[in-house]
Symmetry: C2
Subunit: 876 residues, 2 copies
């Protein structure tokens, strides 16, 4: 018979899929001999079955659980519902992939009217006993039954008021007994029966509730946001309760084996005396720094430090641990690889490599490529920072600089973000409901909560700047005001700036400056360069961007969209003049102007890139994109060009298209308006000749877009070649250049063998290829794609990450055909996928020579490429 | 050394590619012992070389030609430029594929000031000698030099006037000498030198001119229109001149071995006494019917008839021949397979099969599938015809019934046709410049010209109705009037009706009725049915169309576009109501109305189709297509639905798309608006149950459009299956149905192995597949595709005939994957290509089970399918 329940000593860390991350690690720690409370794990398969069997626990599963309970009773010498030494349990979720805070837990299970009295006597602590019981009733009502917890909170508040105390910990045992009595009545009111006294009933219901929490809205949203698709269901960990709230010799804490913000090799964390774990996570009491524990409980601190080092070495990774001290005895409740900022990840990787804990390859794999984004954000301009006014100070919870308008709730933050505003989300404290709001904000400021509070953890996970625990400020979420120490009050949409690395809050906007690659980051990137074997180019349209890209390590320009330079004031006028012209004289005049601009642009770019490849795409968008859209602008243009409004309107009407994406654009323009291609070729070749006179050996790569047939390529290539020949003869100077094409039309993919014979290189334009392969218009598809995600028809956005199955298959066919026809053809990608981690791994698999991405994705792309290289080797 | 010149006795009929059609047939006839004037052919390869070598004749070619001239001189006992018995030559074009009238010829070559005198004495016919000379000068000036022929025509007109005669034949020899003198002066005026006296110079220049005529505008247009792409260049036939204009014992004629209009087994043609060939073709003199020749020159007639039968038997096909009688001696100048109407083609095929001249397969291959279109045109309603007023009678030059507005020139006919008008082109006589105008017209009426005049030949080739030689009417092309015998005058845009089968012209419009398949056509189609093994379905959206389709032999409905039924008055209101509804109540009310309509539609269709397959496509177009377009209509709808204009405008704005072709349509609608799919599935299943109660065993095939991923198909299929299950349970009746999908998105093609597992059938939607594979929007691409044709980048319109290389490759991949996954999957095509001959042959090759096309293409598709079957066998 299949086994659905594993005692901790029956599992190990490699059984994540079956036992969940938490369960696997509890097993591993148990086997390592660490002080772990006894318990067992119900597998994710049992969760699947639960859903398959219409949300019921099978009889065989129940009897397996009961058997394991007996084992725990034996090991702990305690018994459920016992008169002498009763066993209490925790029931916690734990999926294969960590989803912190998304699913549910229930603690103190096994409490009832009898047991509470036994424990009260046993511990001689009535407060503790009834505090535990009332917590169970409240959690059970909330998590298992879904009753409103505000009813319970009202009672707590009222009793505290009556007793005139500010904190629950200051209430008496009798107060807690009274609260427990009232809680039971609330339960009865909703349930129409007494609170269940049978611990087994409590346990079964709790297990069901945890299974169900796999599919709550938050968990679904979290999985979608994090592209978690390859697992189903949560495991359930049932474990002996240990208590940090048994008085001043007890406590609870969370700590990282190294600093998750900076990477420093020093314990980092917080603890609370006389408290349970959720008191830390919720931020309702402000905890002490872990370093204080060394003074308060030196032997416990030493024991914990030893455990931490042991675990770190064992997992060869920085650990994030939860611990509880019950009456001077240390228990480790959980360990997992710690989430960290990119800065920390890099320092830890470099340090551990230097400490010989890990290999260079492991160091590279240790850093999540996506998180590098954090290091590539702009930082405050040091000079401007000096003049800025500090208005508050909180905890440096997640690093980075953020500037934006204040919003006081997630909903409005999301809307403002969609409208293109920079947003700072300001909250007293955040909860799981705020996740999307946090995602929409540049930065988060909270009044309550430490460095491990919800806001801090989530912000770090997303690489967002966060300042938490700014306890000096008063936030009124209803009135939408924030008031600072000096009585300054700001309102919704006022600007502030946050420094997540110092915890400082500034008034108004502060200018930002470009980031750079130095220190550990530089060292780390040198490892990356050593390993990777895929070129990383940049999509850059002007010399300024090219310069920044070089600073980030770009090895060439993979896509220079020549038309992006057309949108400046004078240039747009020239191109409009060209489009409106109805005679050769006017058209040639306009083209001559454009020639001058283009030549200058290319020359500047060539001078920046020196001998690196520069790929210039000929004019791509349909001409109507260059024409004015509003009546006002049409009138203005008519006046400037001295033509009638009617003439411009007629031309706009002529150029109007039903489906512009599939209209008169790309190489189709060069075929109809040969003179534009001639002008662009001339500008490129003349610019290259000019810089070659200064000993810059540039070899421009001229890219012809939207080719679907070899004859299109041949036609435009001939225009380019003829122009180049003419100019080189005139200037009496030979330079070499390449002519290639984009593969972005499905037809080009399946005819790549033919097309390759005339192309020096291919660049996969996966934006358009995705549109045409799916038949999804990028501008329109968002509307129905949301339904697709909801109904589980698509699990990802194909415009963000390459659809490997469909679009990828066409690319595969194309690569295969192209290499057969021309083994040395240079292959790259310049769609936006070129900077996306999963897509880069796919490109490596396909055997492309390079990816091209936006400037700020270059280090990410390089790391992804190196990781892909390592994984490819591992798989071979 | 390669041979570029072949004497007629060195070639044969299988050398068309090298010698051209005319040359190959002259060779064949020579070898058959028929009376062919001596001569030789310069190959098409020589023409290619001419273009490669910058339009010059190589020295070696010139010497080869001179050698062959000597052979002709020996065989004829005549010599170029001889004092005693001078040789005169004709130089004619002749490509691999016949392009009648598109390229140039030059006659009477070898004439000069000396030879004209020799011939005048030799024939004792000064008129004839100078007439020949002046013809040479005129043709040479026109064809070789491009001088305006109006200068020459003016002289002719003036001299005729001076001599007071109506026809050139009535001029004297002295008149002709005078004309010749003046012609030479005109030549000198333009050329700045005398008319060349050296026959060899004349010959070389003439050969160059014929080579060049391959690339004149008319020829290029003709090749494009007829999709002639697989040959290059024209051959040149140089041949001893024989003369039909040597007096009353001479003549010339053209004749078909059977009737090219009706197919009757009887000589059909015309001749003129004392005339050259171009006199017949130009229509300037009205010729006599060939039957008269039997009386006028019985032995010549018998000899010609014998030749005709010999040729017909030899070629196993009806022949189109030119002959000349020179002084009672018959010469055959040309033979080729005769162009014929579809009616004639079918009768000849059936007759020849019965005569055992050809096999059934040869009979099937003898009829051009595209021409069947002619037989499927509507004919006049017999009752209405009785009441109609006959206003003129001409020759029944090309059969069919045509109704339309009169236009007097090609240009305006083309514009009117583009504007959707029915056009009758009325001309005194037509010339090559009118071709596109003829193509735009429903019918052609000419005043001059016989049944073999330009208008008649071209119209028959295109299957257009034509009445020629309506000599009673007076057409004033400048004033745009046509005046009939009874002084009735009609103007541009007045309606007339033409009967090309009787030659009658009627006043005003006459109602037309549907054609039917009877007689020889029926017999012929029975051969077709016997041979073909590809199903032919129809694209029909209602019971009326389905009925007509059955009459034409449809074997099922391959595409029923359910939304086409939505556009009727009441229905469009219901669907608009559904789209505008912002609450469930209103939406469900509207859907309930639609359900009623749909159920009725399907039931009617099922009753017509009985047990034949009916494929119904679920709603496909984006919803905005159903909403009103003008402000006025929006207002009307708002009033009708009792909502505000703003509400409707808002909804229109919400539904607006940038690229609707790739927007929210197809199965994407069923996923977002599940309720529509449920309604349609319910209508289909309930209709099927209703007719099954009347013992009609319909098995509806429900087709889900625009699928790109198996999950899309699964989702909608589940909606359909759940609905069907529910209804069958409710009605307590089981029926079977199929669920399949269209393959019209490239992604579906490359993932066909997956998708096939869930689909009972695939139907290739090649319209959209073509759009997405090329990235060509059908609505926008015409603008730039014209440039593509001109610049030889595309040689065909991929929306008319399947792009076998690109789109076809995706289809091939799809068929391969689908059959691997599900060997018995039913495969068809329902794009417009399903009725196109070349595309059908391709579908047969791919191994599809059926093609589906519009009603009037069914017999064409069947014939194409049979021909494809035969060719496939031949190739195996």
């Amino acid at each position: 018979m299949k086994k659905y329940v594993y005692a901790f000593n029956e599992g190990n860390k490699d059984m994540r899929a079956l036992l969940g991350g938490k369960g696997a690690n509890l097993a591993e720690m148990t086997n390592l001999g660490l002080p772990v409370p006894k318990g067992f794990t119900i597998t994710t398969e049992a969760c699947s079955n639960y859903y398959k069997e219409n949300k019921t626990l099978s009889k065989s599963l129940i009897s397996e659980i009961e058997e394991k309970i007996k084992e725990v009773e034996t090991k702990t010498n305690k018994k459920l519902n016992d008169d002498q030494n009763p066993l209490l349990l925790s029931v916690r979720s734990g999926a294969k992939v960590s989803m912190p805070g998304m699913m549910d837990s229930i603690l103190n299970l096994g409490m009832n009217d009898k047991v509470v009295e036994v424990i009260s006597k046993l511990t001689n602590n009535k407060f503790f006993a009834y505090d535990s019981y009332r917590r169970l009733i409240m959690m059970y009502s909330d998590v298992v039954k879904g009753y409103p917890i505000s009813d319970f909170e009202e009672v707590l508040t009222r009793v505290k008021k009556e007793a005139n105390v500010s904190s629950e910990t200051k209430l008496s045992g009798d107060d807690m007994e009274k609260i427990t009595y009232e809680f039971k009545n609330i339960y009865k009111k909703y349930a129409n029966r007494e609170f269940p006294q049978d611990p087994k009933e409590q346990l079964q219901e709790a297990i069901c509730a945890v299974f169900e929490s796999w599919n709550n809205d938050r968990a679904i949203a979290y999985r979608k946001m994090n592209h978690i698709t390859d697992c189903f269901g949560t495991a359930v960990n049932v474990q002996e309760m240990v208590y940090g709230n048994m008085g001043d010799t007890s406590g609870t804490g969370v700590a990282f084996s190294r600093n998750p913000v900076t990477g420093e090799d020093k314990l980092y964390g917080e603890y609370l005396i006389n408290a349970q774990g959720e008191d830390i996570v919720s931020g309702s009491r402000t905890p002490s720094d872990i370093s204080k524990l060394k003074k308060e409980m030196p032997s416990i601190y030493d024991e914990f430090l030893m455990c931490a080092k042991k675990l770190e070495k064992h997992y060869a990774n920085m650990q994030d641990m939860e611990f509880t001290i019950e009456n001077k005895k240390l228990y480790i409740l959980q360990t997992r690889n710690g989430k960290r900022t990119a800065k920390s990840a890099i320092k830890i990787a470099v340090d551990m490599y230097k400490e010989k804990l890990i290999t260079k390859e492991e160091a590279i794999l240790m850093v999540d490529a996506n998180t590098l984004d954090q290091l590539l954000h702009k930082t405050f301009d040091e000079e401007k920072l000096k003049e800025a006014k500090i208005i508050a100070e909180g905890l440096a919870a997640s690093p980075g600089a953020a500037v934006g308008k204040i919003y006081f709730n997630a909903k409005e933050a999301i809307i403002a973000h969609k409208n293109g505003e920079d947003v700072i989300l300001v909250r007293n404290e955040t909860s799981a409901e705020d996740i999307e709001g946090i995602n929409s904000a540049n930065g988060i400021l909270t009044v309550h909560g430490g460095k491990t509070s919800h806001a801090a953890v989530v912000a770090r996970g997303m690489g967002k700047c966060c300042v938490s625990g700014a306890s000096d400020v008063i936030v009124n979420e209803n009135n939408k005001t924030i008031t600072f120490k000096n009585n300054l009050t700001l309102h919704e949409k006022d600007y502030i700036s946050l420094d997540g690395s110092t915890g400082l809050v500034y008034l108004d906007k502060i200018d930002l400056v470009e980031p750079s690659i130095t220190g550990d980051f530089k060292t780390f990137m040198s490892y990356v360069e050593e390993i990777k074997n895929l070129g990383v180019y940049v999509n850059a349209d002007n010399a300024k961007d090219a310069k920044q890209a070089l600073a980030f390590g770009a090895e060439g320009i993979g896509l220079c969209r020549s038309e992006h330079m057309f949108f400046e004031d004078k240039r747009i006028l020239a191109i409009r003049q060209m489009i409106i012209a109805d005679n050769d004289l006017d058209r040639n005049k306009a083209i001559a102007k454009l020639l001058g601009y283009q030549k200058q642009d290319y020359e500047e770019i060539f001078r920046v890139m020196q001998d690196k490849p520069v790929t210039i795409r000929l004019l791509d968008p349909p001409l109507h994109e260059f024409l004015p859209k509003t009546k006002e602008d049409v009138k203005k243009l008519a006046d400037t060009l001295n033509v009638t409004v009617a003439k411009i309107e007629k031309r706009i009407e002529e150029l109007r298209e039903f489906n512009p994406m599939m209209g008169h654009r790309g190489c189709r323009l060069s075929i109809t308006y040969k003179e534009i291609a001639i002008m662009q070729a001339r500008a490129i070749i003349e610019a290259a000749i000019n810089v070659s006179n200064d000993k810059i050996q540039i070899e421009p790569e001229i890219m012809i877009p939207l080719v679907g047939d070899i004859k299109e390529l041949e036609y435009v290539k001939k225009v380019v070649d003829d122009t180049a020949k003419l100019i080189m003869k005139k200037k009496n100077k030979q330079i070499s250049y390449k002519v290639g094409t984009m593969i972005e039309v499905p037809r080009a993919a399946v005819l790549s063998n033919e097309i390759a014979t005339k192309a020096d290189f291919f660049s996969y334009g996966t934006n358009d290829l995705t549109q045409l392969t799916f038949g999804f218009s990028r501008d329109d598809s968002e509307k129905f794609l949301n339904d697709y995600y909801k109904k589980n028809i698509l699990s990802f956005n194909p415009f963000e990450t390459i659809d490997q199955k469909g679009v990828g298959k066409l690319m595969q066919i194309s690569v295969h055909l192209a290499k057969k026809a021309k083994p040395n053809i240079k292959l790259g990608i310049c769609g936006e996928h070129g900077g996306e981690v999963k897509s880069i791994e796919f490109c490596q698999k396909l055997g492309l020579n390079y990816v091209s991405c936006s400037t700020y994705r270059i280090p990410i792309a390089k790391l992804a490429a190196a990781q892909a290289t390592i994984r490819k080797k591992e798989n071979n």
